[in-house]
């Protein structure tokens, strides 16, 4: 079922009435025990038809949000910060008093940032070969977030076109200042430099545990991804790029060898080099990192008020839904299997074939039947991942309350 951007105005109303999982979505943003004002003060932004962009939208409760979305059928939905006042009244507030107070810590990893090291695609394109970069990124960053920073609740989401987002939802983390958020990104950053920089990764004498852990992850994928898939040592041109990262010209291109063999030669030569020159050089590691290590956009993560595309929003150019990624099966995630809005609507058609419900029916959604239609489509497994994520947060919250009331002997 191919997707035509022109069909969005017809498909979106159906999507928002029958497929968008407003139930779990609302539960997520109400965050269990927080005061009612938390949702009220949350900013949403909508991109409507003809690129009309409206900011500072806010709602009293998830139901009101749902009604508004179903009324305006936005092409894109962004989630912003929880402010000190209702965003839709920010003009009535004394300037300087209207402040962003809390927001999830978010990361945005974009395949375009890897254009200098992937040969298969460029800019907005992706293919199964380079998608591995996202897998590697998710593994490295997720490990660091959980093991190093002690973070619990992360939602990884496919952006719908060329990358992934991460939403960190821990209670404490949502309160983090811009300084803390920037610090996290800096900790996670290894690849530095723009177009003018040839060598983007330089390791110091000692290798920090974060780097060695990340390297073990990269090593698992390097051969298949870089040597076979990307064939980074397979042609003269790509060969030269790699060579530019070595301390000396130690190896010659051999037409008869493939990437894997070349890499072996490179490793042996580097060992000899280290032995004879007595210099510390991590060149092979630096090459692996330059070709595979995640590249983050600090601007997305550091601002407490930064708006990011909402999970389950539709990508207007590809039609694909921004779906959660199951971390337990991250290696199997296939962005090309993610349903498009046209496919989902088509699936709905097939389901409703026997039922006498007109899609143009403007009546209020009739509770269970309408709101759970997504369960009968290929969106279901992704919503399930989302629900598991929410359950985990709920359980943890309950556990914490029990722990606190126990210590207070408060029954």
């Amino acid at each position: 079922m191919s997707f035509e951007p022109g069909s969005l105005p017809d498909l979106l109303p159906l999507y928002y009435r029958r497929l968008f999982p407003f139930g779990p979505y609302g539960r997520w943003l109400r965050y269990g025990g927080v005061p009612k004002s938390y949702f009220e003060n949350r900013e949403f932004s909508f991109t409507l038809r003809d690129d009309i962009y409206v900011r500072y939208q806010s709602f009293s409760n998830p139901q009101e949000l749902e009604r508004e979305i179903q009324k305006t059928n936005p092409y894109k939905i962004d989630i912003g910060a929880v402010y000190s006042h209702r965003p839709n009244q920010h003009n009535t507030v004394h300037m300087g008093a209207f402040q962003a107070q809390e927001k999830e810590l978010v990361f945005d990893i974009d395949m375009t940032d890897y254009d200098d090291v992937r040969r298969c695609c460029s800019s907005a394109d992706i293919c199964p070969k380079c998608w591995t970069l996202m897998t590697i990124a998710i593994r490295i960053i997720d490990r660091a977030l959980t093991e190093d920073f002690g973070i619990r609740h992360r939602l990884w989401v496919y952006s719908g076109r060329r990358g992934v987002h991460c939403w960190v939802c821990d209670d404490g983390v949502r309160k983090w200042s811009s300084t803390l958020r920037s610090a996290v990104v800096e900790y996670l950053t290894l690849v530095k430099g723009g177009e003018d920089t040839i060598k983007k990764v330089t390791l110091g004498d000692t290798i920090h545990p974060f780097i060695s852990e990340s390297l073990s992850i990269v090593e698992k994928y390097f051969e298949d991804y870089a040597l076979v898939g990307q064939d980074i040592l397979g042609s003269r041109e790509s060969w030269d790029k790699v060579l530019a990262l070595l301390p000396e010209h130690i190896l010659f291109f051999n037409k008869k060898c493939n990437s894997i063999q070349h890499w072996e030669h490179l490793r042996k030569k580097m060992e000899k080099y280290r032995g004879s020159s007595k210099k510390v050089s991590y060149a092979e590691k630096e090459i692996m990192l330059q070709y595979c290590f995640p590249r983050l956009d600090i601007n997305v993560s550091k601002g407490v008020n930064h708006l990011l595309k909402s999970p389950f929003s539709v990508h207007p150019k590809t039609g694909r839904v921004s779906v959660p990624i199951d971390l337990k099966k991250v290696d199997e995630f296939d962005p090309f299997a993610v349903p498009t809005i046209s496919r989902l609507c088509h699936e709905l058609d097939t389901i409703n074939h026997d039922e006498n419900e007109a899609e143009e029916n403007e009546r209020e959604p009739e509770g269970p039947r309408r709101s759970r239609d997504y369960k009968k489509t290929s969106l279901a497994p992704y919503v399930r991942v989302f629900e598991e994520f929410l359950e985990e947060m709920d359980n943890f919250r309950k556990g914490e309350l029990l722990r606190i009331s126990d210590s207070k002997r408060d029954f």
């Binding site: 920073f149 004498d205 974060f210």
Partner: protein, 509 residues
């Protein structure tokens, strides 16, 4: 805090050894404000003493490398002199610790009022804290951290063994042996942001494993954050405090306070002749007065601000009222003013300065602080502090015209850029007199003059070492004489800054 008039000290008397409980440590975070009663005079003297201390901290911090032996020994001397805690273990320290506690909170009231004041206060308090913290032993550190609820847990030997190689790899410059020896603390990562950001620390489960030597930075950071927040809060409750009329003048002036001799009583009154002034202005006047004198000679006139600043200075160096009248009149007549007008107008205000008119207050010459902070000059004025108020380019030209070496000029301009105006003037003193070390802390134009005269008449032995700038011998000989010369004036100060005189002292504005 409650206040009582008069000199009766009414501090809470704790029986015998229980006094130690209140201040179990020589160092503190100043988290709890004092709740005892204190007399107004103790309030003032504590505040003034701490201000003196912080100014010394500031000057030492620019003149010496922080943490160097000279820095530490000089700071310790000052702490001892002003009766603040200087030894971490001294048992008899209750009074010093109490003074430390009270004076800090009093100064908060004065220094919370503007961004600039807050920044200055926090900077000096942090430097002071850093010095005192680094003097603590590991055990005392542990006690202190527990006391202030920054109970960072030191990791156990077992825990350290399991992550030993990770610790080695994450702390640059640390060998395996060093890791084993050094204590490591588990700190919530948000307390060690800089170390985490730059990946110079082992991070696990949200905790940074901080080696003992990096602990200072973290504790300092914490101290700064707390103090910053506290000052903001204090500023909000300030209106209530300021409405107490006993405190308002004191607090207002503490932030501008000059805490040295006031040069109103001159031993050498009448010892300067008018003919000497031109030569003296080049040799022994600070730049501000040299500039004013030149402007007066050139224009045969000075505006009110200039007349006040320069006139009082001249009084301070020993000019009598008769001499002053003659001096100003002779210059003004060369300009547009005729003798009659001078007698009717300007003469009156000169006599006023000498306390012979009106209120009959004998006005005191302005201190550097006062000149720098109040009444900035406008077009056509020549008063103020040239290091503060002159355009750096013009200042440079002026110094060049005085034949000061380019290196010297650069040093002065650097200090100006760093907003260390008095230190810039100190540097000017050193360059004009061709000495390595001014040997005193400059706070007052008349002090500049007095020291300069002393130097030129051979009252001090300063050897200038051409090859070795840091010759300890030379320094010692200069140090020996300075304390001797400054102590008498200091003890005068202590006698002078009493409640009654303090009020007069501040009302001249």
């Amino acid at each position: 805090m409650q206040f009582y008039r008069g000199n009766r000290l009414k501090c809470a008397r704790l029986a015998g050894d229980r006094r130690g409980d209140r201040y179990p440590h020589s160092l503190q975070f100043y988290l709890q404000p004092p709740t005892e009663n204190i007399s107004l005079s103790e309030f003032e003297s504590f505040a003034v003493d701490r201000l003196k201390l912080l100014k010394v901290v500031e000057n030492l911090g620019v003149s010496y490398l922080k943490g160097s032996p000279e820095y530490k020994s000089k700071l310790e001397m000052e702490l001892k002199k002003l009766k603040f805690p200087y030894r971490a273990l001294a048992e008899e320290d209750y009074d010093a610790r109490r003074k430390d506690h009270l004076s800090h909170f009093i100064l908060r009231l004065a220094y919370c009022q503007s961004e600039e004041l807050r920044r200055w206060f926090i900077q000096q308090e942090m430097d002071l804290f850093r010095y005192r913290f680094t003097e603590l032993t590991e055990d005392l550190i542990k006690n202190f951290l527990t006391y202030v609820n920054l109970a960072y847990n030191a990791i156990s030997k077992e825990e350290k063994d399991t992550c030993a190689d990770k610790l080695v790899n994450s702390t640059p410059g640390f060998s395996g042996a060093k890791v084993v020896d050094m204590a490591y603390y588990k700190v919530p990562w948000s307390h060690a942001v800089d170390l985490v950001r730059t990946r110079r620390i082992y991070l696990h489960d949200g905790f940074a494993f901080v080696p003992h030597q990096d602990l200072v930075a973290i504790v300092l950071n914490n101290y700064r954050t707390n103090l910053s927040k506290a000052l903001a809060l204090t500023a909000r409750s300030l209106p209530v405090v300021q409405s107490d009329e006993r405190l308002q003048p004191l607090l207002n002036h503490l932030s501008h306070a000059y805490v040295g001799p006031d040069y109103s009583i001159q031993k050498n009154t009448g010892k300067i002749s008018l003919e000497q002034i031109d030569a003296l202005s080049v040799k022994s006047f600070p730049l501000c007065m040299r500039q004013l004198h030149k402007a007066l000679r050139d224009n045969h006139h000075l505006r009110h601000g200039g007349r006040m600043q320069y006139g009082l200075f001249l009084k301070g160096i020993g000019l009598t009222l008769e001499q002053a009248l003659q001096f100003w009149k002779s210059e003004f007549i060369r300009g547009k003013v005729d003798a009659d007008k001078f007698d009717k107008g300007y003469a009156y205000s000169i006599r006023h300065n000498y306390g012979k008119e009106g209120k009959r207050t004998d006005y005191t010459p302005y201190s550097c602080m006062k000149i720098i902070l109040s009444n900035p000059p406008s077009q056509g004025d020549y008063h103020g502090c040239p290091f503060r108020h002159s355009d750096p380019e013009l200042l440079k030209q002026k110094l060049q015209s005085y034949k000061i070496s380019p290196t010297g000029i650069t040093q002065v301009l650097d200090l100006v850029k760093g907003m260390h105006y008095q230190l810039a003037c100190q540097k000017y003193f050193e360059l004009i007199h061709d000495v390595d070390d001014i040997g005193f802390s400059l706070n007052h134009p008349n002090q500049y003059f007095a020291e300069s005269q002393k130097l030129l008449s051979g009252g001090r032995e300063i050897k200038k070492e051409r090859n070795q700038p840091e010759n300890s011998q030379a320094k010692q000989s200069s140090q020996k004489s300075t304390p001797a010369s400054s102590t008498p004036s200091c003890s005068n100060t202590k006698a002078e800054i009493k409640l009654e005189e303090l009020e007069d002292y501040f009302t001249e504005d």
